[in-house]
């Protein structure tokens, strides 16, 4: 096995182009588990830990650009006000030790349907910035990034550079079902973002289908029928929950049954919309 240690982004892209089967490693919280348990024996590891620019975030052009190596701890401590949905999801990842190493970029690279970053990225309308030496930068909307269980739109010679997330313009919530508060892979999860300027609500389902996905019909319902100046109509709230549940296509596995997941998605959808709506009306009254 080779161990590649680029120190700049250009070196990293060159290494990936020369050895497309090299597995990128950032925090190691997914990759090392596979190595420790002999699930994977890649011909090379591509350590991105020395590429300093991956650990930076910035706000420009109306988007927050979060480097692929920014650890969850930094998302929580530094981006809670700008990206509240993503920060809430980051708080539920693993343990403090895991959050010190794990990153949104790694979550995207692994593309697990249970990854905690995905639902808030979908709800916010994030765009993934990937790059290769040969073809340059591609900007892939999160909704088009996830292709299957642990499969993404990333090509073998590409690396994830950053994720671009619109700063919140309204309340955002993330909800996750698990057996305890810490160290839990989601049984299922749900993220919601209000976009008051566009009179639109974004959604994201986690661990409830082969890929993370939006509840498109549920979003359409709210775009058409939600009165942004009035209290939430209980009948509309119920229909929203039902449509979110219907967007799920889960399986039975060790963490939960498909039926439970469908039910829980509906509950979390109603809860998060209620929380967000309380904030929305509260802010207007204040």
């Amino acid at each position: 096995m080779d161990f590649l240690r680029p120190t700049t982004w250009d070196e990293a892209l060159a290494a990936k182009a020369d050895q497309p089967d090299a597995v990128p490693i950032q925090g190691g919280t997914d990759v090392m588990v596979e190595l420790n348990f002999d699930v994977r024996r890649p011909p090379a590891l591509l350590d991105l830990g020395q590429v300093a620019e991956l650990r930076e975030w910035s706000t420009a052009g109306g988007m927050c650009r979060v480097g692929a190596g920014v650890p969850y701890t930094a998302v929580i401590e530094e981006l809670g006000a700008t990206l509240p949905g993503l920060a809430q999801a980051a708080r539920t990842v693993g343990s403090p030790q895991i959050r010190n190493r794990g990153s949104v970029g790694g979550n995207l690279g692994a593309a697990s349907p249970a990854g905690d970053s995905h639902p808030p990225l979908l709800a916010a309308g994030a765009v993934v910035e990937v790059e290769s030496r040969g073809r340059g930068v591609r900007m892939i909307p999160a909704a088009e990034f996830y292709l299957g269980v642990k499969r993404s739109a990333l090509e073998p010679d590409e690396l994830i550079r950053a994720v671009h997330v619109p700063p919140a313009t309204g309340p955002q919530y993330f909800s996750k079902v698990g057996t305890r508060n810490a160290m839990v892979i989601a049984v299922c999860s749900f993220a919601l973002a209000l976009h008051p300027r566009e009179r639109r609500v974004g959604t994201g389902l986690g661990s409830a289908a082969p890929t993370p996905r939006r509840a498109i019909e549920a979003e359409r319902l709210l775009a058409a029928e939600l009165d942004w100046d009035a209290p939430l109509d209980p009948a509309l709230l119920r229909r929203f929950g039902d449509l979110c549940a219907r967007a799920a296509a889960p399986i039975d596995d060790v963490r939960g049954t498909a039926a439970y997941r469908v039910h829980a998605i509906g509950v979390m959808a109603r809860r998060t919309l209620t929380w967000a709506w309380n904030d929305h009306l509260g802010k207007r009254a204040a």
Binding site: M32, N36, P96
Partner: protein, 157 residues
């Protein structure tokens, strides 16, 4: 491959390291530092917690090559000579150690908490230690120990 990094203030090298090997394996099997424990090998138990450049991490999830040129501090590096760190003393006094397997990771994690938050609330202690599993104590005596260490460190400063 050869990996060189600083452990508990001393530069150390390990030879013939397999590229997929973890930092934990290098510490325990190549550098003679068995304090950090090897249990789950998937970041679930926290018993291999060490400082990497001052940040607590699971050593089982760091590839050895990622530690090249960096600073590692293990449980063996918490005491100053024969003088235990206040966190270690408090664990002994409070009966927070039973079989001892989880103890090294808990000590490093609790040490980090008190460095960052000198007077932690119970909720902050629980949150900080959420990734460290103990199957003996039921955690109450561990919480007692962290509270005692915080009080002593506060009184000493």
């Amino acid at each position: 491959m050869r990996v060189t990094f600083t452990v508990n203030g001393r530069e150390q090298s390990a030879q013939d390291v397999w590229e997929g090997e973890s930092l934990l394996y290098v510490l325990r099997e190549r550098l003679g530092l068995p304090g950090s424990k090897n249990a789950c090998e998937q970041g679930e138990c926290g018993s291999c917690t060490v400082y990497l450049d001052g940040v607590p991490v699971c050593a089982c999830l760091v590839a050895a090559g990622q530690a090249e040129g960096r600073q590692v501090r293990t449980v063996e590096g918490l005491a100053e000579g024969d003088r235990l760190d206040p966190v270690q003393e408090a664990f002994v006094e409070c009966g927070a150690v039973q079989c001892g397997f989880c103890t090294p990771g808990l000590l490093v994690q609790a040490h980090d908490l008190l460095e960052r938050v000198p007077e932690p609330s119970d909720a902050e202690i629980r949150e900080a230690l959420a990734g460290n599993l103990c199957r003996c104590t039921g955690y109450e005596k561990i919480l007692d120990a962290v509270r005692l260490a915080a009080a002593r460190k506060g009184a000493a400063s």
